[in-house]
Subunit: 494 residues, 4 copies
């Protein structure tokens, strides 16, 4: 089943409990802080259901037609199809929606390709497969909250000072399910989604059994409150002045559970700290989910490259050789992520049988590249903008006053463009590089997959060090201490 | 004369014409977008006039007591006094006010130390000295607008397309002065100042004579309109939520002159394109003005270092060796700008007689360091913050709702601090690293002194290349082609 | 025909005129400065001819079996085969041979896929195709010299001072060919090759017609002298002490022609300055040649990664979390070039019909990444080595003295390894990161494809800027000045 | 007493036991591997004794005239004098001698300004003061070896595998002194020095008492062998071809003690692991020693800047705006270290009474800047050189052959210079950026003061974190939760 955008918006009016500061939000699809992004999500659903894009955006299986990102890939071509599907979705938001409907769905799909990674009894593979079918067949939008609150990662800290550990955990088991309580960060996209997957992508200590709960709950679960961070759209004077914040602020929320009941059939891992993380990396889950993020980032790079080009045109700087060199460099950067995405397909892994997986090391290389460099990429756009962003009027309301409008149109035009088009461009560039929306993305991309050591540890783990050590050993084995010299073994033995 | 803060605020209610979008601002000292910053400026004036700081913040000359930044330095100790004065002012705003009252005053003072750099007849040294005395004696706050609008730097562009060149120029001369019209960017601080110095810090083409006008006009000059960029304070929900934007948004405005009359006694350079820029670099003007910027940046680095430390404490990351190493590195960076400021004094130049000047090459090295690295420094704070900035509630209004307040206080506390103190810290850090106010500073520091090649050209110009070439020549002169080999000269002559 | 290594070495004893300083080299295959590298080239030939590698290293066409790098690719699989062939060759030298036999051969092959890029009459497509067949069928090793001497790029310089322009040019035409004279840099690998391709990869000015000559000459052409730079192997005390310099110093030579005759059938472009460069970029020539370089660099990264790992093991630093993070980062870098190579295949271009080409933008992205970052990658190895490289004895001759040998074996051993194995590893690491051989590679990789602006210009040229500008235009077209505001067109028209 | 160079060379012919590989060196002042550097050291002594430089290079105290670097500074002017003295010495070697005679002398002098940092009974302040007077009065050249062998830092490693711990330690105490045995790295400069200071600049574990020995021994002490790393001068074909290696290779040696007796009066710390390191950082010792290194590095930057300029001239690239920008940037970098050196003086500390000290935080900022950036600085020179370094002949012996000499002189000349002068310049640049000598300096500067975390820990330790935290606390104390909102304390108390 493929939902329409309208149908999806209906599902969001479900009584969920959302706060922005002290303001409770009745309907995220209509509130000015959120309606723009809600419409963006609806547009994604409409695109998926568009008959013209039928082959690109969906596939058939088990008698139904499903979003392409539920496809369990068996061939290189299947991986290519997944990538194309992610790309269409990403391009709709210019990569601004990190947790679009295909993100967590890819995690679940990757896990459903190797359910035996959920080792019983603490793992519940059947529940996982059933959940996969459920969200696939009903076109459910699932997001996740898989990280404990910052500074709460060390429970001893709290215990020593007799403060309750705030991290979400199982507080009791009942016949029909578990009851969870506590806080988890950071349910990005939750305001526009149906379900929240709760789990642990960071390693837990073995004794953190009760925190090991991995499950899915609906966004309107009784006892669940979503504490939204400041919505960027709220400060936007108009779509013209803040076009990205207006439409693409996907929201981030702290998830606070006050005794939320989770039925057993939605529990995937229970009481096993190690397993609760292993399920992501011992199945294609982490790889499929983060491949989506590589593809999404690529769309962002494409918008960034377009903005660099347009801004350089607008200032006339594109005539300067050094600026053309910068544009060539930025184009190479866009091609780099393109190459890394394509490379993951060309060097795919035949794992887990009978399925195939994107090349994991290249995927992590992409993730490393993306998270390490976003600040620098945006800095290039800043450099190209120069002071241009500040010479524009505070907002487009200048056009409401005849005298100001006339002056603006006369004085702010340049040979490269009329005043309003230039202002439109610079406001857009500012929303990419300088606004609070931009600031959120600078923070977000840097911590997309956690602190840098986390990604590097993934890269370390997936590397076959023996092969690389052997390369050096083999080279060294081909020559030796010159013949007339004594060998160390002998000397040491004397 | 040393004004009080209250006296200064009075001078701002002078009928100046200021627009924010289409909204005309009646009184910048009372409008919510500007009153916080206006109070900050008043606090600077109060500090200068504080009897307890009399020796630090002021000096006596010509029968009056003046702000220290008007001191024409004759000794190393005088330079030290200037530096200390700048530092006090900078620390009051944590370096957030780039164009505090001591900035342009230092440019004017530097020029008044070598008025003969304003070569007559196009230069008018007497007017300059008189203006120096005027602002010194009346404690005037002068800012400047010394750059043409972006993309308008090539007048031919406009002429070819028959569009009026928007750059400010002299449109006619009259008995009592010149009349100027057009646009100039970017009068930072103008909303809180008394006068605007108009000039050209970027080189003009020789035929841009009419743009070469260098003069000073009051902020309420008839015909003058200030088009403010979006004020950051306007989006602040409260001082708690956006403490830096609330107080320290110094404002940037495009200056638009619709036939503004400038009396001859306020004209400093007229009709000489080359001279209009030379006056800054052939006198200590540029050096004194930018020394202030080095000192100001230092104060910002001090706040940044404090924030890095406090945030690392708040997350508990300060216990991690790698984070302590980062803090050590950041501390070294703070010491670097400290060292560069002090170094300019220790290696002072005895120029122009009978005065002394900060070491110019070290000052430009400081400027280069500051502008090249700000993005990177802020990126370190982002890294230390991690996702912590997004786990805080949208704003402090949560405390208005009893239930939310109780939950917040319980769940957001950590062993390192109570919920509100942590939120306060992260909101402050976000205003430094992620908010639109932060975005403006990231743009501002990068272009503080223009594009990077401009600063490097200053550095190139002040370097005695002969001395460095000689170093290599002298080294090479001490050895030669081995004796038994032929010399090139001979062979070439054959 | 596939030559054996021995057969190839025979071809090098052909009377070529080679100088190292004032020493003329009789036989590069036996001289201590060059024999190690000559043997390496022989090993490449042997590998290509090895029946066990028949399918990987060669293919059949026109009734013969040829080295795989002459394959004109018609499918994605063909591209994959080429890549695998390059990889085998590169791994044999750990990427140290930039101009292995597959490099220029790939340029020629790419050109032979689109000979009409050699537009007559100045271009001679038939000669090119004939030359392609000649080197393919006879397994010829061709290198090139395609850059004018540094500082000689501006002929006016020379003319103004009445100094002869040293750059190689046609000095006269004769019935049976052209006569060339002058200097060209930098014929890397020429000492071990059969032919030298002479051409221009940098743009010429339109009037540099006589320099536009593009042709091939044998390394023993009468009148040709090769001036070798300092051979790194000469300073090697032993293979143990300098294993990379010993074997893999491919040599760089200035090529000096004193009236060398080139028969017409070896002339490919004549008298057309623009065309002499266009033939590389308007055919797959530049792409095929530089794809090889991406693959080769990948092999170097593999050795580098192995060295990082082994050195970290040897010092015990691999137990430090921060060092493991570094290793994870380096592993991600190795995967990055792997991904870029694979990505060029997955995103191949169907051009020029009926052939296919590696994705050009991704290839240039790889080239940019490789040239920009080599210094940094080597710096990581330096960091991992620490002072370890200097605590080893000057050379392995210590083992010749019993007392020293005993002390060395006792005191230099560590729990991670015996003294000699550690010394062997650190000498190898030093040859990668610190020796003069390493210094040459640091210089070489940085200028592999010329100054950075050259690569970025390739990237700029191959980018479809309209597509990226359109992305921004399309986004901006979806919203406008709010309805109640005037449109700029109208105001401007008033 | 001030030694002449000749007198100093005499002191080096003292029977010291030095090995290069298996070759024992009889007389370092005459052996081709070392005589160039020995003459350089002699030149430093001659300069110090030069009557014309009497006031700059020496001072009087206790009835004698001493090298200026023994001056215990009591005023800012004294610090300035020390800096000038270091600068003269550094300029003589263009900063290539890290361990020139003023380096360890500064450590000892700094310690002699606060001998009570050597807390008895394990510390022996009287011995230290006596040693200070001894080396001052006799103009002794002392170097040091203060780091254990790499990988030997964890003694348990060795013990577990039953391998002797190689680190130097006290093996027995006797009436007239202690007996030490084992290895210590890396006695840079020892071949040209008189004494070696043995100690520990890295922290020891508390139980490493026997390694805590801090003492001084003569370079010819019975039982002491110096194992030199490969001497760079040995590969130099001529001074013309390798001018820096020829003269300035200061040597690095592993120090191996086979039961060396140290009389009690040369023992400074004994049996106190903590104290053995504290003596450097609880006295001005570390600061004075590393101030010298800042000054020395500055001289290197000056040569580097000269080379950048000359090379850009030689290639004609100095006419390219982007290259001039690079030169401006490099000039700013040279000014940065200049500023940091001067800043340490201007911001001097009045400690320890009655003496004064360079500003420690700025000194560490300098050290951080120097060690972090050397690779990057050299990379700029590489970039400016381009392929020019490889187009030069292998060595200057080409001038011995008439035909080659004529061709060389004709073809290698450019409008910027004759062939030999260009070759001379590029050989020099290569010795700075690409030769094995250059490789050693790239390694050396990076590890000058140990791994980067060590320097950052110094910076961390010297920073008054309370002051920076207070800055943030004070700012946050000036605003609060808005008045109408509840305070956290109250809620939490409910």
């Amino acid at each position: 089943m493929l939902r329409s955008g309208k149908e999806h918006l209906e599902t969001l009016r479900d009584g969920r409990r959302v706060f922005v500061g002290s303001e409770q939000i009745d309907d995220v699809t209509r509130h000015p802080a959120f309606r723009g992004a809600a419409e963006t999500v609806a547009a994604i659903y409409d695109m998926k259901a568009d008959p013209a894009l039928r082959d690109v955006m969906s596939y058939e299986e088990d008698g139904g037609r499903h979003s392409i990102y539920f496809l369990r890939a068996k061939t290189r071509e299947d991986l290519q199809r997944r990538m194309e599907g992610h790309r269409r979705i990403a391009e709709l938001t210019y990569g601004m929606f990190g947790r679009s409907p295909d993100h967590v769905a890819s995690f679940v799909t990757g896990m459903a390709m190797k359910p035996d990674a959920l080792v019983p009894p603490c793992g519940r593979p059947d529940n996982l497969v059933a959940y996969y079918r459920h969200i696939r067949d009903n076109d459910i939008y699932t997001v996740y909250a898989v990280v404990p609150p910052q500074a709460a990662r060390n429970p001893e800290f709290y215990q020593r000072q007799n403060i309750p550990v705030p991290t979400l955990r199982v507080v009791r088991e009942e016949d029909d399910g578990v009851v969870i309580a506590g806080m988890k960060m950071l349910a990005t996209g939750a305001l526009y989604a149906n379900d929240i997957w709760i789990g642990n992508v960071l390693p837990l200590a073995p004794d953190q059994k009760k925190e090991a709960i991995t499950c899915a709950i609906p966004c309107n679960a009784p006892g669940l409150t979503l504490w939204a961070r400041k919505p960027m759209a709220l400060d936007a004077k108009s779509e013209f002045d803040s076009p990205l914040a207006w439409r693409y602020d996907e929201s981030d929320s702290m998830l606070l559970c006050d005794d939320v009941k989770v039925p057993w059939e939605r529990v995937f891992v229970h009481d096993d700290a190690l397993l609760s993380r292993d399920i992501y990396i011992k199945s294609p889950s982490h790889c499929f989910g983060n491949h989506q993020s590589n593809v999404r980032y690529w769309s962002k790079m494409r918008l960034l490259l377009g903005l660099c080009s347009k801004v350089a045109n607008a200032t006339g700087a594109d005539q300067v050789p050094a600026v053309r060199e910068t544009l060539g460099k930025m184009a190479a950067l866009e091609s780099t992520i393109a190459g890394l995405v394509h490379g993951q397909i060309n060097a795919f892994e035949s794992w887990p049988a009978p399925y195939v997986c994107f090349n994991r090391r290249i995927m992590y290389a992409g993730l490393e590249w993306c998270t390490q460099n976003y600040s620098m990429f945006i800095d290039e756009l800043r450099t190209l903008c120069g002071g241009g962003v500040f010479q524009m009027p505070a907002d487009i309301s200048v056009m409401e006053n005849d005298e100001l409008a006339a002056q603006f149109s006369t004085f702010w035009q340049t040979p490269q463009g009329d005043a309003i088009t230039r202002m439109k461009l610079f406001k857009l560039a500012w929303d990419m590089a300088g606004s609070e929306f931009a600031g959120r993305h600078l923070q977000y991309e840097k911590f997309y997959a956690g602190a840098s050591f986390i990604i590097r540890n993934h890269s370390f783990r997936e590397t076959d060090w023996n092969a690389f050590n052997k390369l050096v050993d083999d080279l060294m084995a081909t020559y030796d201490v010159p013949a007339n010299k004594k060998k160390p073994g002998k000397v040491a033995a004397e």
